[in-house]
Symmetry: C2
Subunit: 585 residues, 2 copies
Amino acid sequence: MYLERIKAPSDVRALPASALPALCEEIRHAVIESSAAVGGHMGSNLAVVELTVAIHRVFETPRDKVVFDVSHQTYPHKMLTGRARAFLDPAHYEDVSGFSNPRESEHDLFAMGHTSTSASLACGLATARDLAGEKYDVVAVIGDGSLSGGLAFEGLDNAAALGSGIIVVINDNEWSIAPNHGGIYRNLAELRATRGAAAHNVFRALGFDYRYLGEGHDVSAVEAALSELRGCDHPVVLHVHTQKGRGYAPAVADPESWHHAVPFDVATGAPAVPGASEDYARITGAYLAERMACDQRLVAVSAATPYIMGFTPEMRERAGSRFVDVGIAEEHAVTYVTGLARGGARPVLGVYATFLQRAYDELWHDLCLNAVPAVLLVFGASAFGTTDATHLGFFDIPMLGAMPGLPYLAPTCREEYLDMLSWALEQEDGPVAIRVPVASVESRPGFERPAAGYARGWEVVRRGCDVALLALGDLLPLGEKVADALAERGVRATVVNPRLATTADEDLLGRLSADHRLMVTLEDGVLEGGFGERVARALACENVRVRCYGLPRAFEDRYEPKVLLGRCGMTVEGVTADVLGLLRA
Amino acid sequence: MYLERIKAPSDVRALPASALPALCEEIRHAVIESSAAVGGHMGSNLAVVELTVAIHRVFETPRDKVVFDVSHQTYPHKMLTGRARAFLDPAHYEDVSGFSNPRESEHDLFAMGHTSTSASLACGLATARDLAGEKYDVVAVIGDGSLSGGLAFEGLDNAAALGSGIIVVINDNEWSIAPNHGGIYRNLAELRATRGAAAHNVFRALGFDYRYLGEGHDVSAVEAALSELRGCDHPVVLHVHTQKGRGYAPAVADPESWHHAVPFDVATGAPAVPGASEDYARITGAYLAERMACDQRLVAVSAATPYIMGFTPEMRERAGSRFVDVGIAEEHAVTYVTGLARGGARPVLGVYATFLQRAYDELWHDLCLNAVPAVLLVFGASAFGTTDATHLGFFDIPMLGAMPGLPYLAPTCREEYLDMLSWALEQEDGPVAIRVPVASVESRPGFERPAAGYARGWEVVRRGCDVALLALGDLLPLGEKVADALAERGVRATVVNPRLATTADEDLLGRLSADHRLMVTLEDGVLEGGFGERVARALACENVRVRCYGLPRAFEDRYEPKVLLGRCGMTVEGVTADVLGLLRA
C-alpha cells in the first residue's frame, strides 16, 4: 500500500508515475471507508482525488501556497500531508477535522468552511509574496458550486486586475450542494462541451489566461496541465472537469444526497442509523408545501440548501416556480426576497445561521430598511447545530440583535413554530425572522396563539416568585427542569418563554421585578450582544439581580453540545445551585 | 422652462422630442446649482441626465419598475417624478433626500444607498410579476462602479438563470467613486472600444442578451435603444457609455473629487467653506505614508474609498503597490487582508462602518477565525458620521461586538489614536479594529501608552466616587463635562475612558463597584448589543445601578447629531440631572 507510507508531499513526488493510479484508488477507498464510519463530505472528496495528487506532485507546499475553497474537499490533501492515519485507522477517524486547519498542518494555510473565499485569500498571498520579492506559486482550488458566491467574483475580478501570478483551478464537478443555479453554469457547460473553446468565456472576459482539461480523473494529464502553469507570472484559470462522487456508484447516481453522508453501509449505501422520523426540516417543508396550495403569493427561497427547508427534489419539482434555489448566494437571496416582497409576493427564505452572516448588510440595508413583509427561517442557530468552528450557529442573536424592525422569534415547540410561521406570513408590518428549533422536536398540546400576536410580549409559563427563569427557545425545557428542582428545595420559580430573542418585554420585566429578586437568562447563544444582555440593561436600574447564562465569544471547535453547556454552567444542577446561592446572598 | 411644468413622468412623455435637449440642460443646471448650495453627488447625476429622461419617456413608472442602483444618481429621476421644486427652489433644496425613498414618491421603489443591489431587487420584482401573471417591465440601472461588488454578480448571475424579462442598463461612466479596479473594467473598456463587438463579453458569457450604445448623452438615441427593449421577455443588458460630471468642466476634469461635492462656487468650483485643516483622514494618511518608509511589510488597503484614509491620488502614486484599492468589494477586502497577513504582510484596511457591514461574514470566518495580525480602521462609526438612514455608522459596536478575538479600540484623541494604530501594527496576536474618531480632533499632550498595551484594560481619567461615567470614544468630552457639572453640585464623579468598545474591564468594574452606587455608560452607538449592555451584564449581580445612554435601534434619517443625542438624553444637563436623581433614589 502506498498511502500509509506517505508522510509528506515529498513522498508523493518521489513515487513513479506508474504508481499514481493505485495511490488514487487507495485514497478513494479511504474516503469511502472513513465516511461510511463517521460521515463526511463524500461527493466532493471523491471528485478531487487525482487533482489533489497532481497538485502535490507539481507544487511544493508549504513553500508554494495552495488554498482549497471551502476546504470540505481536503481529505485527500490531508492524507498526502502527514494525516493519512486519520483516514486509514478507524481508531483515528476523529483525529482530524473535516476542514482545512492550520493547527493540524503547515500545509493548511487557513481555517475555513464557508465558500468562495479562495480567490481573495490567494490574492492576498500573492501580493504579500510580490511585496517581499519572493518567488513561489499561489494556487486557489475552487469548485464550480462556489463560483456563484459574490465573494468569489470579487476575488477573481481583483486577481485579474492585480495581474500577478495566481493559478486558479476550477474543479468543475457540475454540482453545488444541490444542482447549480446561475448564468455562469451555462457558460461552464459550454466550455465543457467545447473543451474550453466556446466563444463566450467568463474567465477570459475578466482578463484571465484560460486552459481546459476534460480528463480530471487522469492523474498524469492533470499533473501535466498543472506543470505547465508552474511559475506562471500572470492570472490563469485551469478549468478541470471532474465527477462528483467518482468511484462510488450511489454517490454518482445521487450527488445531492451524497454531498455530505451520514454513516452508511458501504455495500448498499443505506444509512447505518435510520434518520429521525420528524425534524424541523420536514415539518417546515410539509407546512410550506401545503400552504402553497391555498396561498398563491407564497414563494420559498433557498441559497443552495433546499433540504434544510425539507424540500426534496420531488417537492421542488411540484412547487415549480414557487420554489427558487438561487445557488450559493446568500446576499442575493436576502435582497431578492426584498424585491419579491415589494413586488407583492410573500417570500420565505430558509438559511443556516452561519451562512446568513454573508447577508448581514443585505438584512440591514435591504430587508429591514425597506420593512417589507418577508419571512426568514434561521436554521442551525443553536449550540445544538453544527459543531465545527467554521460553522457555528450560535452567533445569530448578536447578528440579528440590532437590526431595526426585525422581530426574531424563538419558538419552543412544533406548535409554536408553525403558529409563528403562519402569523409571520399573515402580518404585513415588515420582515420577521424565526429561530427554528434545533434540539429535539417538542410538542405542546392545546397551544394557542397569543391575542396580540408575536411582535411583542413574552409568555409566562409558570408563575412563582423570588426567581424568574427566562429560558429562550431550545432551552425552555432546561428552565422548566430547573424550576422543578427548585420546587423540591421550596423555591417556587417563575418560568418565562421569552418568544423574542432580541427584544426585552419591559412591561413584564417591570411587573416581575416587584416580587422577584433574581432573574436568570438562559440562551444557547453567545453572551456578548445576546438575549441576556438585553435583560440586564432593561433591569440595570431596578433592585433585582440578573444572572446571564450563555456561550463564550469564541471559536469552539468540534465540541459536544452538552459539555459546552455544562462548561457554561447550563445544567439543571449548576443553575439550581447558582440560584439557591444567589437567593441566599 | 420645461422642468418646472413637469409634475409627473407623463409630462415628460408628452413633450415633443425637440424639447428634450433643452429639458436635459435645465436638469443639468438644477443639479449643479442645488449641489453648489447644499452639496451632492455631482458626477453621477450629471452623467445620467439623458438616460433618466429617456427612461421616463419609454417606461411608465410606477407600473413599470425601475431600480436605480445605489440611488445617489436619482436627482434627475426625482425632478421628473414630481420633485423638481426641491432642485429649483433654494428654499426647498433640503426637501428631498439624496437617495431613492418610497416615502417621497411611488416612483421610488426602495430606500437604498449601498451599491450593487439593483440586479437582485429586479430579480425579485420580476419573479413576483411572473408569479402574479402580470406584464410590465423591470429595469435595473447600475453604474459600472457597482459591478465590482459581489452582490451585483450574484444578482446578474441569477437574473440570467431565471430567464425572465429583466432589463439591465449598465451606466458606464468609467468611474467608481475613485478609479475602477477589477478585471471586469478591462472588459468594459474593450466593449466601449469596439462598440460592443469585442470577442469577450462578460454579460453574454453569463447568458444575457447584450446591446451597446456609445451615445449616452444623445437623449433620442438612448430613447430609441430603450424602446427596442420594451416588453423584453428575457434578460438583456443595455450598455450605455456616459461621462461622469458631464456638463460641468471641473467635475469632468477631476471625477474623483467631484464624486460628491461639498457646497461650492459654481464659477470657480472652489469650496464655499474651506475644509478643516486637520481631520482623521489626513492624520491617518500622513501617519501610514511615513510609516511605510520604515516598515516594508505595511500595505494600506481600501475598498473604493481611498480618501477616507487620507490617501490622495498623489500619495497613492507614491505608495505604489503598497496601496491597494480593490474597488467596491468590501467582502474581498477583508478576505484579501487575511491572505496578506498570512503571507507575511502587515495590512491596514480603512473602511466606512456602514460599508463594512458587507463583510460581516468575512470578518468572522476569515479574519477572526484565522486570528491573523491585520488592522481595521473603521471610519464614520458614530452618531456624528453620515446621517442618511442608508448610511448610518452607529451600528458598528453590535456588528463587531461578538467577533471572537477582535479588540475594538475606541480612541478619544489624536495621540491615543495614533498610538493605538502603532500598537496594533506592532502586535502579532491577531486582528485589531479601531473606531476612528469622527467628532472634532481632540488632543492630549503628554499622552503615554499604557504599560499593558490596549488589548485589555480601561483608563480611569478622573477618580471620584458614587458615580462613574464610562464615556466611550467621541463621548469622552461629554463625560468630562458632566463630571464638571456634577462637581458644581458637590458630586465627585469618576470618569473612565473605556478604550475598548466591546469588552468590559471586569477588574476595574469590580473595583469601582466597591465605592460607586451608579455607573453611567455613554456611547454614540445603538444600545442593543452595544457597549452599555456589556457593562450592564458585567454588573448585573452587583449592588450597583447602571444607566445606559445610547441610540435607538432605528433608521434615523437626515438627523442633526446633537438633536438625536439630546433626544436620547445625552446632553450635559440631561445626564447630570439623571445622575443626581438616581443618586438620590
